[in-house]
């Protein structure tokens, strides 16, 4: 046995027919108001169907959607890998790399130093040779003695050369 509400819902949905329909409409107290209400319910149903129903994508829209999805995915992967790269870059100045950088700096410094020293060497070569500032012999003991001096740059030897010193017998060679 259906209740009034069930019969009312079925009437609104147009599911009553025949004797059951006639019997239900006869039981309505105000059939005109009920018809208006039925028309409103139908309009509402159509409106809800239009606005809330799942919209079916066309082929073109589906393809476009797929492309957008792919682009978004690739963007996400790219930003992720660049994040990893920046994390790697931040660890560049590790101790081994600092050591290498230090060694390279030292090498550059040594090369520059050697270059500067090499540039200076020719002008200062004489300072590496022994220099005789002055020399004298006793004029009483060796009146005819003379002294001369020379530097042999090839052998880096400086010689003070005397002539005319008093000759001595071989006994003076004793230790």
């Amino acid at each position: 046995m259906k209740t009034f509400e069930e019969k009312w819902t079925a009437w609104l949905d147009g599911q009553l027919s025949g004797r059951e329909l006639a019997k239900f409409e006869a039981s309505l107290p105000d059939k005109a108001a009920a018809e208006v209400e039925k028309a409103d319910a139908r309009k509402l149903r159509q409106l809800l169907k239009q606005e809330l129903g799942a919209r079916t994508l066309t082929n073109q829209e589906f393809f476009s959607h797929q492309v957008h999805e792919k682009i978004a995915q690739e963007d996400a992967e790219t930003s992720e890998s660049s994040g990893r790269r920046s994390a790697t870059t931040s660890t560049w100045w590790t101790i081994p790399r600092l050591l290498w950088a230090g060694t390279l700096s030292l090498a550059v410094f040594l090369v520059c130093t050697l270059f500067v020293v090499h540039e200076k060497t020719p002008t200062e070569e004489s300072s590496y040779l022994t220099q005789i500032l002055n020399a004298r012999v006793d004029p009483v003991v060796s009146p005819n003695a003379t002294v001369s001096m020379f530097e042999v740059k090839q052998d880096r030897v400086t010689v003070l050369w005397t002539e005319g010193l008093q000759s001595l017998p071989a006994d003076y060679a004793a230790k």
Binding site: A135, V141, R156, D171, K175
Partner: protein
């Protein structure tokens, strides 16, 4: 840690080897040498080995014998010392140190008689040779070398 040490040691060795002119105490060898020409020359004394060529070339002798010597380590550059043989004495008076070497006053004595006096700036890299008097058939040479 071992890897770092193995890396740092050669680097520091390189730096130290490349650092020029860290001067410490140095020794001056001074000697009285008789140069002669003989039939069978004796080997040259080790102190003279580095100047054997120039000695033979300049003075024309084939044997060099040390008759007196002295080795002095200079710390202040103001030291003095004496190298002597039986009849000769070489007095060396260091009068300061410079970038190039040591300033020395040299006096050669025959017994108590001053034969020769000279002032010289002795370089570490350059020996000094002084030709002295003729002795018999040979020649007295004075040699100073920074070792």
């Amino acid at each position: 840690m071992g890897g770092v040490s193995a890396y740092l040691i050669p680097v520091f060795a390189l730096i130290l080897s490349a650092t020029p002119g860290l001067r410490g105490a140095e020794t001056v060898w001074s000697g009285l040498v008789i140069a002669e020409n003989v039939a069978q020359p004796q080997p040259i004394p080790p102190e003279l080995t580095r100047i054997e060529g120039p000695l033979k070339k300049f003075f024309g002798y084939n044997q060099f014998q040390v008759i007196g010597r002295s080795q002095k380590t200079l710390k202040t550059g103001q030291e003095d010392w004496l190298a002597t043989s039986k009849f000769f004495g070489l007095h060396v008076d260091a009068r300061g140190e410079s970038e190039a070497g040591y300033v020395l006053n040299l006096k050669l004595y025959k017994e108590k008689e001053l034969l020769l006096e000279t002032d010289a700036k002795l370089s570490k890299r350059s020996p000094l040779v002084i030709k002295g008097p003729q002795i018999g058939s040979g020649q007295l040479l004075l040699v100073l070398v920074v070792e």
